[in-house]
Structures are given as C-alpha cells and as structure tokens.
Symmetry: C2
Subunit: 314 residues, 2 copies
C-alpha cells in the first residue's frame, strides 16, 4: 500500500491511504503516520484492508509522509559517490567495515512541492537524491536479519546540502550541522511488498531520475548500495533503541558509470569535472532554481511520486 | 523559576513548577514542557506567577525536564578538554573559528535516577558532565545578540559516550552515531534569571561536581566556555530554524588545571595519564557502576538537583 499525509493545518497532518492509480485516497483509522508506526502491526492490517477511496487526492495538500520525525539517520553507502566526494573534499578517510552514517535535523521534512528556504546562495546549495526507509520501534542490538522486519515503509528523499560548509565541518570529525538543513520527502511512503521487483535485497531496484531546472541531470540506479537497508537499521540500533518513526537514508544514489547515467547531486558532477577536466565547471544552485526527483521502476511506474521544488531565500 | 516533569505514565510526563526549597511543586497551566516552550512568553508569565505549591515533590517520579526533544545539538567548547581528547584519539583536526557541534539522539533523555542501559561493557562506557540550555523557536539566521533571548532554560546533562567507537567514527568525518547513546538530564530546568550570579555571559558560573562510584572524580568550573550559549544558539541556527525545545549542550566541562580540579569524563583522566605517565590506567565504567553529577554555585546551592544513575546491561 501507499500512504500520504495531507495538510489539515496541524504539524503532523492527517494520514490517508492512496488508491492504486494515485488519484484518490481514503482516511486512515489513525490520525498520523507516527501513530501508525507506533502500533504498526495492528494499524497496517487496517490500512491494507482499505478498498474504497472516497476522496479525490489533492496533490497541493500533500505534505511529507512523515512531516517531522524523532530521528533521521542518513547513510552514505553508494561507493562510487563516496570515493569521488573524498577526492573533492580532500579528506583522507580511513577505510571502515561499517556503513557511514550521520544524524541530521528531523523536526521538519519539507513537503514535496514546498519552497525550500536557504540562508545564503553563496553556501553551495546542492540537492542529494536518495532513498530512505521508515522503521517501527527497533530494540537496541537487533541483528541484521531481524532489522529487516522493522523496515515498514520506503520513501524518496532530497537531503539538501550546503557544500561550502560540508568539507570544513567534516574535517572536524563532528559531522554536519550547518551543512545539512532539513530534507524533503516525495509524496508517498510505500510498503516494501507494494514495490514488487522494485525492492530487492532490501535495496530499491529502480532508477532515480533527477531534473535540475527542467533538464535531466541524473538517472542513477538504486540497487548499488554497499549495504542494504537491513544492515543500515542494524547499524543504527547497535547502541540505542530506535524510536518508531526513525527515518534512515541511503546517501546520494550513485553508480560507477556516473559519466553515462549522470549524478544525483551537483557535487558529484563537479567531482567528475575536477578529475576529467582539471576543475569544476558546474555551479551550485541559485535562488529560483528548481529540482525534480522521481524514482522509476523498470516498467515505468513512479511509486513515490515526485519531489518538485524551488529554492528561495530564507 | 525551576521546572520539573513528573512521570504520569505518558512519554512527555506532566510539567510542574518547583518550590524554592525543592520539596514541593505546583501543576503548570500546560501539560508538558514542550507545550510551554512552544508558547513561552505567555506560559512563562503564568508559571512565574505561581506562589502556592500544593503537592509534595516525589523525586522518584521526576523524569528529565524534557523527556524527549525534537533536536539535541551538543557543542564542545571547553578548550582544555578538546585539546587533550584530540591527542588521545590521535586526530589532527584543523583549527576552526566556530564552536564544534554535533547532532545527537534526542527522542529520549534519561530521567535523573533511571538505570542507563548500555549495549556492551567492552565499548568504553564513559560519562560526560555538561551544562545545556533549551530554546524556544529560533528563526534561521538569528544573530548572537538575538540568540541570547531564546535561551529559556538551563539544564545539566550527562552526555553518555562509548569511547571505543568514538575515535573510529570521528575519523570518518560523519560524526558520532553508535558512540552516542541517549543522554541524561538532572531533575530541574531553571530559568537564567533564577540562577543569579550562577549565570554570567551566557555561561554557567558554578562547579560541576562529579562522583564515580561514590568517590569524587571532578569539580570543574563551568565558566570556561570558549563560546557562550548565545553563540552556540546562533551557530546552530545559521542555516536552519531551531524548533522550540531544541536542547544545546556545552560539551564536557573542563578546566586548564584539570590535574587539580579533576575531570567530568573518564577519557580526559585517561588522557592526562597518557601524557603524564605514558599510558592510561583508569578503566572505563563497568556494569553496576554509578555516577552522580551535581552543579554547585559559590554559595553551595544545587539548582538543577543531581543526576545519580547506575549503568546496566541492555
């Protein structure tokens, strides 16, 4: 099933079940997605039983599926992206045998068509197209095998970044605060079973098509993660209980053949330019720029709908 | 005024105003501290008007003042601590002209006497005695001068750390996830005005007395921050709006004369041993160990009450 959250004037919105064709919806038996995640087994059964969709789905009212979360942990597990970014940033990271992950701001996820407020154009405004999952409550110390069972929903995310701040913050070892403003989420949160072949080995088996100012910029394939989301959940839960509604991201989707398929962020394109041409040519986003991101399965379905946003001054 | 949150079986508890002598309390006009922070000016006036404290304060029912928060950002602004830790971890951080800060797990703050569940004794369990503040909503781009006005409450925190994981995570540049389980908070959140001389230049002008297994371990003075909390709030708000109820920490309290006054974490003691004696002798915490932390003003007052906890296996 696919779920959406509609703006009803409250911060958490109201949860609806979306019809298979995406044009209509049905009210959920609980008010919010957070409530559903806190009692998932019981509520999911009720959500799955919905067959009648009495409301037209007004896309202008669609918020992020989870408009705010108690926890957002973002991985970075596409190896081709990581290797290039280390080169661009000029950081000499040790090789590690675990998935890289940082904790980011989670009290707001932008709605899919909401304008994105940025502090300063000079900070290197960049998008990062990603996949993500949402868990129910995960006990500390959960194994990878058991962690897989806690992946309740799959989502599509833009992890906004400010590149002028990212390198300097990273070099302190403390991770990112200023470099990572709130993220955006695509309209629909989707159960893994609903994705069919689009979900394999706890990875998204689909492309992430990115358009910047109306021009295609990237179309990387999702199933190139060095660690599946099962491993990411277990990593996050090693020393803490994960609260229901924890959102975990994949990091920027990237493929080894990025010169052919394009990139899911500008920094990666700039990295390629530095390697191939001796210097970055593509500039970061300007106020008024738009970015559209839409994951597509092999049969052309777009299960999460599209993120389509404009960057504006704060 | 001093505020506390009592366990009423809900996750956010119920807010009370604590009497000057700390023995009794009065119900607040809003249910939770989060609600108060979301409408601070109006609610604070009502809280400040309380003069009658009809309930005996049952310390066994005291939760963290904010039992869960939408955001926890921890600074590291005691220079004597940072310099020693870099040496111990073996990281060569560039000097930066901003306050170091990471984002940590915030969906749970331990109650002041709650047992602390840890995954594994072998991970180097350590306490970190800190001060912290709680803000109301802070708009993106707020100046240091204006940020000061958003410091609504001062708190005392134990930022639990797992040292075997801290160095390796730090070297990736992504900051800490596994190395930082949930923190603990002392019983009372205190308005800055209530602290009198105990709050100067947006810093705590008091000592943080730390006892490990009943023996005094440290008594460092709080007013040695390289940046005041006004600067920490402004730093955090540079590229994001801060949600009401954002908690910001000082990092481990530390003084240049740590050999005399002691330390607020074990890692610092070990660092001193490495420098002075060629190797660390003090081991990290074991299951069953206790730590007590209590800030004291010059006149012997203990405005936040005490954190007094035992470490147990998860």
């Amino acid at each position: 099933m696919r779920l959406a959250t509609l703006n009803d004037g409250t911060r958490d919105g109201r949860l609806v079940v979306v019809s298979p064709d995406g044009t209509s919806c049905a009210p959920a038996p609980v008010k919010t997605l957070q409530e559903a995640l806190e009692n998932w087994d019981a509520v999911a059964a009720q959500l799955a039983a919905v067959t009648d969709y009495p409301e037209a789905l007004d896309m202008a009212q669609v918020m992020a599926p989870l408009p705010r979360a108690w926890q957002w942990l973002d991985g970075s597990v596409y190896a081709s992206h990581g290797a290039l970014m280390d080169k661009v940033i000029g950081i000499d990271k040790p090789a590690v045998d675990w998935p890289l992950m940082y904790q980011g701001v989670s009290n707001k996820f932008y709605a899919p068509t909401e304008d994105v407020r940025m502090a300063d154009e000079a900070l290197g405004i960049d998008f990062e197209g990603e996949f993500g999952i949402i868990t129910d409550a995960v006990p500390m110390g959960t194994s990878v095998v058991d962690a897989a069972k806690h992946i309740r929903l799959v989502v599509q995310i833009n992890d906004w970044s400010l590149r002028a701040l990212a390198g300097p913050e990273m070099k302190t070892g403390f991770g990112w605060v200023q470099a990572k403003p709130p993220c955006s989420m695509a309209p629909f949160a989707v159960t893994p079973d609903e994705l069919g072949d689009g979900w394999q080995d706890f990875q998204p088996n689909m492309n992430l098509r990115v358009h910047w100012n109306g021009k295609q910029f990237g179309d990387a394939h999702g199933k190139a993660m060095g660690y599946g989301f099962d491993a990411l959940v277990a990593h996050a839960a090693r020393t803490r209980d994960l609260v229901a509604g924890t959102v975990i991201g994949s990091g920027t989707v990237s493929n080894e053949n990025f010169r052919e398929v394009g990139s899911s962020c500008i920094a990666e394109r700039r990295g390629i330019e530095i390697v191939d041409e001796g210097g970055a040519k593509t500039e970061f986003m300007k106020f008024g720029d738009t970015v559209r991101m839409e994951a597509r399965t092999a049969d052309g379905a777009t299960p999460f709908g599209a993120i389509d946003q404009k960057v504006v001054p704060a």
